[in-house]
Amino acid sequence: MTAVPRRRMVPAYLATGGRSRPGTEGFERLTVLFADRADRAEPPTELEPEHRRLWELLRPGALTVVEAAAHLRLPVSATVFLAADLVEAGCLHARAPIPRAQQTDRSIVERLLVGLRALR
């Protein structure tokens, strides 16, 4: 029974409610999504199934938008909509790939290079 792929109840493109929404501009593939420890027991508000799947995926730990999309088998764009809704509802937090502590392009690439060489 479990070997039979289930047809999804809500097509991916409908998971966004078919709308475009404001508040998604800051999101990209590597935006980090996470829930507060205190938030992890139950979501504060009743969530729709697709939102709930994302929230439950992120309950144990942080993931990027693109990883969440891959695990949920949703397009990145739909995942961004869901994440933006959850952030707006206070159920989830999002942060940029580069933490705010000011880093220059050069210092970032230097860190990349040092890190890669250390693995060699």
Binding site: R8, A62, E67, P75, V76, P97, D105, R106, V109, R111
Partner: protein, 224 residues
């Protein structure tokens, strides 16, 4: 091909962990910290050149992919009238993750090489530090399209020739001439199945990216 130790170095479909038949998410590799610096590099090239192999070789998580619905550009809508095909194409974009010393995580995205996916390509390329272009000496010309796109984006890149069994070996100067490479663009040989070789390719790319950036005092982000 028979002498290949562990599969061909191309990127034919493989076990895809987020395609579990029961529809449940595969084992999830969560990020250990929330304050890591996340970086992005692209691994670009034509189909079958070894993009996914290289990503899989380096990734600490089982490679994942997203299904991206793409409206193909430059295709008249009338062509589709009465046809059963959809007006969009779905492209699988593979990616992997590598945690580096220093609270840094590198994401590697395999990016499609055809211009008709340019909008998707641009979207994936946003925020990338650079691109590693993979090429196969049996069909070097297949990498031209993606190289043009990368140059148009102004993204620094290095070219790695993925060595396939039976592929002709050409001297570097011949390859450089065929690929019409800028003198500063790194060109190296690699085996996408080997970790050290794949790391060397990324190191060469990172060194080149660093060379393209202005010295610390004139970092563009510090200008108004």
């Amino acid at each position: 091909m028979d002498s290949v130790p562990s599969g061909s170095p191309d990127d034919r479909p493989h076990d895809r962990p987020n395609d579990r038949p029961d529809g449940r998410p595969s084992r999830v590799g969560y990020l250990p910290d929330r304050d890591q610096t996340l970086m992005k590099l692209l691994v670009a090239g034509p189909f079958g050149v070894g993009k996914t192999t290289l990503i899989r070789t380096l990734s600490e998580i089982a490679t994942l992919h997203t299904e991206e619905a793409m409206t193909e550009t430059g295709r008249p809508v009338d062509d589709l009238a009465g046809l059963p095909e959809k007006s969009t194409t779905t492209v699988a974009v593979d990616f992997g993750r590598l945690t580096l010393p220093g609270n840094t995580v590198l994401y590697m995205f395999g990016t499609p090489g055809q211009r008709r996916f340019f909008p998707l390509w641009q979207d994936i390329a946003r925020g990338a530090l650079g691109a590693l272009v993979l090429a196969d000496t049996r069909r070097l010309a297949d990498s031209f399209e993606i190289m043009d796109m990368i140059e148009e984006q102004g993204l620094p890149y290095a070219v790695a020739v993925n060595r396939f069994p039976g592929s002709p070996d050409h001297p570097p100067e011949v390859l450089r001439a065929h690929l019409d490479l800028h003198a500063a663009t790194p060109l190296l040989l690699c085996d996408a199945r080997e970790r050290g070789s794949s790391l060397d390719a990324l190191i060469a790319l990172a060194e080149h990216v660093l060379d393209t950036l202005p010295a610390a005092a004139t970092d563009p982000r510090e200008r108004p």
